[in-house]
Structure formats: structure tokens, C-alpha cells
């Protein structure tokens, strides 16, 4: 069975702090895809990144970076120099490589960035 665990329910930081959101996944598939989505207070889920299981290269996009480690089944997300606009719920998700491609979501981490 596939499962995504986001153990951090809520994180609060002060602006300009760095923050890491943890994601641990379970799957028996050898090929799979991992995602991060952001859900701001407006409610719409915004796609942030997709990572393929065969590509463990870390990725940086501006203040965002992602660390994918197959050895620990983790796909963590770091925001550097956080800003108030980063306040949102962040979801990690998994897709199997075949069939329905349905997203299996974690329970989300609510990030609050205070000025």
C-alpha cells in the first residue's frame, strides 16, 4: 500500500527564518512520483514540484529547495528566509507510475509565518 506521512501538523516561524517541512512516504513500487502542493488561505491547491523516483538530484527554486532521499523514503521541503506570504498548508503527495495516477496525499503541514 502507498502512504504519505507528514508528521508536523503545524509549524510557526518568524519571518526570515528557514523552515523544513518533512515528508515520508511508503510504496513498494520501484517507479513513482512525488509532489508538493501549497494551499494558501484562498483554498486553491497550487502545484510546486514533481520529482521522479529515479532522479534523486535535489532541486532549488528561488527560496524553495527539495531534498529527496530514497534511502530514508523522504522528500523534504525547505523554505529559506520565510515570508508572510509563505503561510499556507503544504501537502506532500505520491503517485504510482501506472494505472490511475491518483494523488495520495499526506495530511498536510500548516505553516504560519509571523512578521
Amino acid at each position: 500500500a502507498q502512504k504519505v506521512t507528514q508528521a508536523q501538523t503545524e509549524i510557526s516561524v518568524v519571518e526570515k527564518e528557514d523552515v523544513t517541512l518533512d515528508c515520508v512516504y511508503e510504496t513498494r513500487d520501484t517507479t513513482y512520483y512525488l509532489f508538493w502542493y501549497k494551499q494558501p488561505p484562498s483554498g486553491e491547491l497550487v502545484f510546486l514540484i514533481r520529482r521522479n523516483s529515479f532522479d534523486e538530484q535535489n532541486e532549488i527554486s528561488g527560496r524553495y529547495s527539495w531534498n529527496f532521499q530514497k534511502s530514508t523514503s523522504s522528500f523534504n521541503f525547505t523554505i529559506t528566509a520565510s515570508q508572510v506570504v509563505d503561510s499556507a498548508v503544504y501537502f506532500c503527495a505520491l503517485i504510482r507510475s501506472y494505472n490511475t495516477d491518483k494523488l495520495i496525499f499526506g495530511t498536510g503541514t500548516r505553516l504560519q509565518v509571523f512578521p
Binding site: 509532489f35 491547491l45 502545484f47 514533481r50 507510475s97 495516477d101 491518483k102 494523488l103 496525499f105 498536510g108
Partner: protein
């Protein structure tokens, strides 16, 4: 270009009534998904369409729920005889889809359903 749109944005209905929720995917996206987001259950998959076919309906919680897609575009999710536990935000997503690859799913703003 235009994103995924959903209507209505909010729907309040009485227990026992039927409701229809609509989703307009991004043009050219062959795959369409319905999810449900509620406080107690998080984000749950409901049904997946590839074109007009629904190869996976495994997430539909009961036979009161049905969905269709026409013309490879618009989809309608119908809930019959609504119950209070159906109250949730219903999210639609679309992607380029296809059986040979996996693509990002882009979400609409959702329909907030409240059953009184």
C-alpha cells in the same frame, strides 16, 4: 491560459436533496480527477477520468455518488440524497494524463458543499 474552473463555488443544500457539481478542465487535458477535502478525512480521491471513460471509481464513497464526463471536457459530479457527512470541499483537477507518463495535476478552486 485559463485554469480549471468549478461551479458553483458554494452550495448549501438540505439533507436528502440532489446536487450537481461542475468542473471545466484546462483545455487539452485528457485526464480529470475529483477529490474531496474534509476536516476529518483530509484529501481523498474520488474518481478519475481518461477522456470520457472512468477507469477508477474506487474512491466514490457510496452509490449515491456518480460522475460523468462528456466530450472529453466538462465533468459533473452528482450526489443524490445528500447527507450531512457529504459536507466538504469538492476539488477537481486536470492533467495532460496519458498512459505513458505522469503529469502534474492542476486544481480548481473547489466547490464548498454544506448539507443542512
Amino acid at each position: 491560459g485559463a485554469g480549471v474552473s468549478q461551479s458553483p463555488s458554494n452550495k448549501v443544500t438540505e439533507k436528502g436533496k440532489d446536487v450537481e457539481l461542475r468542473c471545466d478542465p484546462i483545455s487539452g487535458h485528457t485526464a480529470l480527477y475529483w477529490y474531496r477535502q474534509s476536516l476529518g478525512q483530509g484529501l481523498e480521491f474520488l474518481i478519475y477520468f481518461q477522456g470520457n471513460s472512468a477507469p477508477d471509481k474506487s474512491g466514490l464513497p457510496s452509490d449515491r455518488f456518480s460522475a460523468e464526463r462528456t466530450g472529453g471536457s466538462v465533468s459533473t459530479l452528482t450526489i443524490q440524497r445528500t447527507q450531512q457527512e457529504d459536507s466538504a470541499v469538492y476539488l477537481c483537477a486536470s492533467s495532460l494524463g496519458g498512459t505513458s507518463g505522469t503529469y502534474e495535476q492542476y486544481f480548481g478552486p473547489g466547490t464548498r458543499l454544506t448539507v443542512t
